[in-house]
């Protein structure tokens, strides 16, 4: 279907079902129950899942296929956000032109940075992209204040022109982002018994974009262009002596993944119309690297899983505090309860990075193919197949 083979079609279907039914899937626990804090089915967080999923899918086109590890992809995310907010300030609150501009501007930005950074490969390429991203961050933070509004971040105001829209609504407030009148913040709540499911328009826009972005990524992976990108990763020497110029191939991959990042940035600003310099900081660039590797670099679905995994940890584990722990372990005798809480304390709340770090190490050491490899091994055990079969299919994920 859609020019994909059976396996890829089912992969696309899985992603489509997961994203479209996310409000149910992520809300398994009834509201008010003790486990309700593990629910992730609220609009804000679901939007973040899919937006970072898009970011990681794009990053994987560069890193997973060509092996070029960019440490500065957050710069494109930031540029996308700024472009979108400017579109909201100057043109209208419709998200479509904003997202289009984000993709175009970040693509141009990626063309310039890629052209220079791709003169080197390996660690030098990574350092060059990191340097560019940090420069962009510093510029956005201070020098370019007229464009970026410095450390406050770029926000909408009541005297923005918005030539195709209104400067302010009738009741004197800032208009909200919309898609031809459909407000992004619009949410429909459905109560089923003790459960409350939330369907947010902004989330569904992001989800549809993610499905389209995922579909495009599959096509790129299976195309002659995708094969050439894998050839870049495998043996550039042979490539150059086979009459192929590897430079435009890597540059095209860099620009495409930069545009994906810009798309993610544009969507982020469409959900919440502000943009700050911290979005471009190197920790944000590092995060997408973690997502891709954790999920499985070079696989199609891995980056999406990795993005969801990390964002879930960031938002759910960080909210567990000592009071919650005391609630959980209250069945224990007092001394023991305090002791257990003391042991668990470093891994929760602000310590969620520690938990994530340990999990990341475990995955990289025991599952070099990421969560996807984990899934394949489990599927292999269930089918009773030998582990080696799972590994074989895993080494050729793009076939």
């Amino acid at each position: 279907m859609f020019g994909l083979d059976k396996k890829d079609t089912s992969l696309l279907m899985i992603v489509a079902v997961l994203t479209l039914f996310a409000p149910f899937i992520l809300n398994p626990f009834p509201t008010g129950s003790g486990l309700a804090q593990f629910n992730a089915g609220y609009p804000d967080l679901m939007q973040r899942f899919v937006i970072f999923g898009i970011f990681a899918i794009g990053f994987n086109i560069l890193f997973g296929l060509t092996g070029y590890l960019s440490f500065g992809h957050a710069a494109f995310l930031g540029v996308g956000s700024y472009s979108a907010v400017w579109m909201f300030k100057l043109l209208s609150m419709n998200v479509l032109p904003a997202i289009l501009l984000s993709v175009i501007i970040s693509g141009l930005f990626a063309l310039v940075i890629g052209f220079i950074s791709l003169r080197r490969s390996g660690i030098y390429f990574s350092i060059l992209t990191l340097a560019f991203a940090q420069m962009s961050f510093s510029l956005a933070y201070s020098v370019l204040t007229p464009i970026t509004n410095g450390e406050t971040g770029l926000q909408l105001t009541l005297d923005d022109p918005r030539v195709l829209g209104v400067t302010a609504t009738a009741d004197g407030s800032i208009p909200v982002t919309n898609l031809f009148g459909l407000e992004m913040r619009g949410t429909y709540e459905m109560a089923v018994g003790p459960w409350a499911f939330q369907f947010n328009i902004g989330y569904y826009l992001c989800a549809l974009v993610l499905i389209a972005a995922f579909y495009l990524a599959i096509r790129i992976f299976r195309s002659p262009f995708g094969m050439m990108l894998r050839a870049v990763k495998s043996n550039q020497q042979r490539m150059n002596y086979t009459g192929l110029n590897s430079k435009p191939y890597t540059l095209a991959a860099f620009v495409i993944s930069g545009m994906y990042a810009g798309l993610a940035g544009g969507l982020m600003a469409s959900m919440d119309p502000l943009a700050g310099a911290e979005r471009m900081q190197w920790t944000a660039s590092g995060e997408v690297v973690l997502m891709t590797i954790l999920g499985g670099a070079g696989t199609l679905i891995g980056p999406v899983l990795g993005a969801g995994f990390i964002k879930y940890f960031e938002n759910i584990f960080s909210k567990i505090n000592d009071n919650v722990l005391h609630g959980w372990f209250s069945f224990m005798p007092d001394g023991l309860e305090d002791f257990v809480v003391f042991i668990v304390h470093p891994f929760i709340g602000k310590g969620w990075h520690l938990t994530l770090g340990i999990l990341f190490m475990l995955v990289v050491i025991y599952l070099p193919g990421g969560l996807v490899e984990g899934g394949q091994r489990i599927a292999g055990w269930i089918k009773g197949n030998k582990q080696s079969d799972a590994q074989q299919s895993e080494t050729k994920p793009a076939e």
Partner: protein, 251 residues
């Protein structure tokens, strides 16, 4: 006038004059061997032909066009394919995919942004790659990972990849280095078959005299960066200067 004309080529690395005044003429459809003791400048000369190095002086003409200053991929697109001393293949890709890449390079040129079409839907490319695998006796290995092939199979695959580009000149850099006798003989047979069945010129750098005298119909002997003599194999064998410079070494 040969298909490849090297005139007065010189190359210096710091204090070392690696090549000086090299003249070489490779006739069309011949098998031309370049031999010489270690450090004679064979590899330097080869690198000057494929664009990896640029000579300090002289000219290299392929089919009437200068190759100097062109990138390796441009020279390849002109019709010169190179086989490396250690097989250079796409180890992460399957054997079939390895064979498809040069076919795509031949059809689409050095860069083509074809990001939407399905690569397995390119019938002409797949057919051509399958045919070449058949010819190399590797059709049964088409779904194997190229990195898992034996040394001899990697060499066959690399030669097949070069041939699928339909080059006019095939350059081989010690193609049997480090091979067992049986593999060496297989490679000799393969190269003989290629030069008999195709209109192709082969230039080969080789250490192994058995390989050289079984294949070549023209030989250039390099010593200390300069061609000592260029002649037919029979005359080379009896040439006292050659014996002294090279063959004497192994005798």
């Amino acid at each position: 006038m040969g298909i490849l004309e090297v005139k007065n080529v010189g190359k210096r690395f710091g204090g070392l004059q690696a090549l000086s005044d090299v003249n070489l003429s490779v006739r069309e459809n011949s098998v031309h061997a370049i031999i010489g003791p270690n450090g004679a400048g064979k590899s330097t000369l080869l690198n000057c032909l494929v664009g990896k190095l640029i000579p300090d002086s002289g000219s290299v003409m392929f089919d009437g066009q200068s190759v100097l200053g062109r990138a390796p991929y441009e020279i390849n697109q002109m019709g010169i394919s190179r086989v490396f001393q250690t097989p250079e293949i796409f180890g992460d890709l399957s054997v079939l995919e390895n064979m498809m890449i040069p076919c795509l390079a031949k059809r689409d040129g050095s860069f083509e942004l074809n990001a939407i079409a399905n690569v397995m839907g390119q019938r002409d490319i797949i057919e051509k790659a399958e045919r070449m695998l058949e010819e190399m006796n590797m059709a049964d290995k088409r779904h194997m990972n190229a990195a898992s092939l034996s040394r001899g199979d990697k060499r066959r695959l690399e030669i097949g990849m070069c041939l699928s580009q339909e080059p006019r000149l095939l350059l081989l850099d010690e193609p049997t280095a480090g091979m067992a006798r049986a593999d060496t003989n297989n490679t000799i047979d393969l190269l003989k078959q290629i030069s008999d069945q195709r209109s192709i010129t082969i230039a080969i750098i080789e250490h192994d005299m058995h390989v050289v005298f079984s294949l070549a119909n023209r030989i250039t002997v390099l010593a200390q960066g300069t061609p000592l003599v260029e002649d037919d194999p029979e005359n080379i064998r009896g040439n006292p200067k050659v014996r002294e410079a090279y063959l004497g070494e192994s005798a």
